[in-house]
């Protein structure tokens, strides 16, 4: 491949022209095991600052800017632009055998159907094998077979029903539509597939050697052989149920999920899962629990931060040799501490003003909507005789009353910075929906007053479609106490921390029901 020869040529050339420490860096990089968690590329993206050659070896970036200490960079730099997300490199080819996802939530790729195809093939084998066991003797040596009577018939019946149950159960457990594509293959599923394959192979082996070769005449034995195969397959299915479904039902970890931009925190209880499956569960909960991510609400904090940074400039008067990054930041912090800062005052008054504005707009909106709703009334049964010009279906009714509240609603949405979530069409269709279902104005307004969960909004305002799992431990390893992993999206990330639920030791104390005795506190008098 092009890239490969380029790499080797470059490293060979530059090993002569660079210093020794650079060379050792690069050899260390090459021998680093290619860890395949889904975000290894982005991890390396983040950590590399200098030296420049490491970047081009991995082939991620465009040609890096010139290294100030190397004067003949024009001869040694190679423009490695071939390896981007869309082209293949050596690493990509290795990964085709595993299920790797780079696409967004809705993207279709043939990689998505590989597990489905494998499952179907295995299911077909499972269906065909016992039937083949039964049918082959009848085809190959029918004359020598002993006729077996009622025992065989009983076995046929049980075989048929067990096969039917197995197929139904397999369909219920394995052929559900996949909800996600995980970065690595699920260990348990692979294990079960291998186990099934192994079982089938060993049965075929025994069948071939003991029955086909020797042309066994005891047909009842053959039928019992087939029935035992189906029994074993049913037990493998039981094992699948336990491993895939039951094991994670008992909660043993409490996961704390924090959104990095606005600090929304949720807690979930999960059982023992691998990191990638736990990430999947958390993402599913994310769409229904977390309020939608609104970047417009974060601009205030950003402008404040920018003001802090821009407030002080550090000039170096001693010449280029004495400047260190740490010294600069310390000087900045000292100056900032002395500077009389009034930004907290501004923040306080700004927030008070904002609250007042929002409440004013909300009051106007509520009044406008209530007034609009009074203009529409459901047609009573006895009034069906009205002229058709006055009778409207819900859409027309919504369109009729919408203009009177449109302005107030739009102003309110602008003030709370939600206007990009709701288009006019969506507002009108929601109004139609509310009118059809006899909702009050308050019920209509609730959707706009509070930020709802992400699923409630249309797909383009989600801002969270493509997820990357960043983890220090391997993503197929199980959750442990103190596991931390990050789910990165384009604009924000979800930081997940796992804490084990403590082992609870419960002891018992027996109270005899007759042991509850009481005395009154009296002033008792005794005569002596």
């Amino acid at each position: 491949m092009d890239t490969e020869s380029t790499h080797s040529g470059y490293s060979h050339h530059s090993s002569r022209s660079r210093g020794s420490n650079r060379h050792s860096d690069r050899s260390r990089d090459r021998h680093k095991p290619r860890s395949r968690d889904g975000s290894s590329r982005s991890d390396r993206n983040v950590t590399i600052t200098s030296p420049a050659p490491e970047n081009t070896l991995l082939g991620e970036q465009n040609p890096t800017p010139a290294d100030p200490q190397d004067d003949n960079w024009g001869e040694t730099t190679t423009a490695v632009t071939g390896t981007s997300d869309h082209s293949l490199s050596q690493e990509d080819l290795v990964d085709f055998s595993k299920e790797e996802t780079e696409g967004s939530v809705g993207k279709l790729g043939c990689q998505r159907f590989i597990p489905l195809a494998l499952t179907l093939i295995l299911g077909l084998l499972v269906l065909v094998t016992p039937l083949a066991f039964l049918v082959l003797p009848q085809l190959l040596w029918p004359e020598q077979l002993q006729a077996c009577g009622t025992a065989c018939e009983g076995l046929f019946l049980s075989l048929a029903f067990k096969l039917l149950i197995l197929l139904l159960a397999g369909w219920a457990l394995f052929l559900r539509p996949t909800r996600a594509a995980l970065p690595r293959l699920v260990v348990f599923r692979a294990l079960l597939g291998l186990l099934t394959l192994l079982l089938l192979l060993s049965y075929w082996l025994f069948y071939g050697v003991r029955i086909l070769d020797s042309q066994d005449e005891n047909y009842q034995g053959i039928v019992q052989f087939a029935v035992s195969l189906v029994d074993s397959l049913l037990f493998i299915h039981y094992l699948a149920v336990v491993l895939l479904e039951l094991r994670q039902l008992q909660a043993s970890f409490s996961l704390c999920v924090t959104r990095s931009t606005d600090g929304e925190i949720r807690h979930y209880n999960l059982g023992q899962l691998s990191i990638q499956r736990a990430a999947l569960v958390i993402l599913e909960h994310y769409y229904k629990d977390f309020p939608v991510h609104n970047p417009a609400l974060l601009t205030a904090a950003k402008t404040r931060a920018a003001k802090h940074l821009a407030g002080l400039k550090v000039y170096n008067v001693d010449g280029p040799g004495s400047e260190t990054v740490a010294g600069q930041s310390r000087a900045k912090m000292a100056a900032a501490a002395r500077h009389r800062d009034t930004t907290h005052n501004e923040l306080y008054y700004e927030e008070a003003d904002y609250d007042r504005r929002v409440r004013k707009r909300k009051a106007r909106l509520v009044v406008a909507v209530e007034e609009a709703f009074t203009h529409v009334r459901r047609l009573q049964e006895e009034e069906k005789k009205k002229p058709p010009g006055e009778v409207m279906d819900p859409r027309e009714a919504a369109q009729a009353i919408f203009p009177s509240m449109a302005r107030a609603l739009q102003k309110y949405l602008r003030t709370t910075r939600q206007q990009h979530f709701h288009s006019m069409d969506s507002i009108q269709s929601h109004l139609t929906f509310c009118i059809t279902n006899n909702m009050t104005p308050k019920a209509f307004l609730e959707k706009y007053l509070t930020a709802g969960p992400t699923l409630q909004y249309s797909r383009d305002s989600w801002q969270a479609r493509q997820w990357t799992l960043v983890s220090e431990a391997s993503v197929t390893s199980g959750l442990r106490d103190g596991t931390i992993f990050v789910l990165k999206s384009a604009d924000f990330s979800l930081v997940v921390t796992a804490k084990a639920i403590p082992h609870i030791k419960l002891s018992e104390e027996f109270i005899h029901p007759k042991s509850h005795k009481f005395v009154l506190r009296l002033q008792s008098e005794t005569s002596v």
Partner: protein
């Protein structure tokens, strides 16, 4: 009969000697007591301080040895034959008064009027 926590209790007391009378198998003294550290002090009608858990004389039978010896109703018993009665349970008090091998009990009792009498006598010009 004031009580300062941590300080010894001081009171003006009267010495009363009661001869027990034999009544069948028992020796009786002719009065009733109430109080004790296991009792509810707020129900004591004779005490000034309603947290006082001492032993009080609640009834004196007519013509009995106690009345003859000078015990009055409402007296607080401080000592019986040298045994302290200010910090005893009700049952302990009863036991100390009704010991079978003693014929006579010497009590130290205190009452409000004693203190007033002493004060009056001290204030009177001689």
């Amino acid at each position: 009969m004031s009580y300062i926590p941590g300080q010894p209790v001081t009171a003006v007391v009267q010495r009363i000697e009661i001869q027990k009378i034999r009544d069948g198998d028992n020796l009786i003294l002719g009065f009733s007591i109430g109080g004790g550290i296991d009792q509810d002090p707020s129900q004591n009608p004779f005490s000034e301080d309603k947290t006082d858990k001492g032993i009080y004389v609640t009834r004196v039978s007519e013509g009995g040895p106690a009345e003859v010896a000078g015990l009055r109703i409402g007296d607080k018993i401080m000592q019986v034959n040298g045994w302290d009665m200010t910090m005893v349970t009700h049952d302990q008090a009863r036991k100390r008064l009704t010991k079978k091998n003693e014929d006579v009990v010497r009590l130290l009792v205190t009452r409000k009027s004693l203190e007033e009498a002493v004060r009056n006598s001290m204030m009177q010009p001689r």
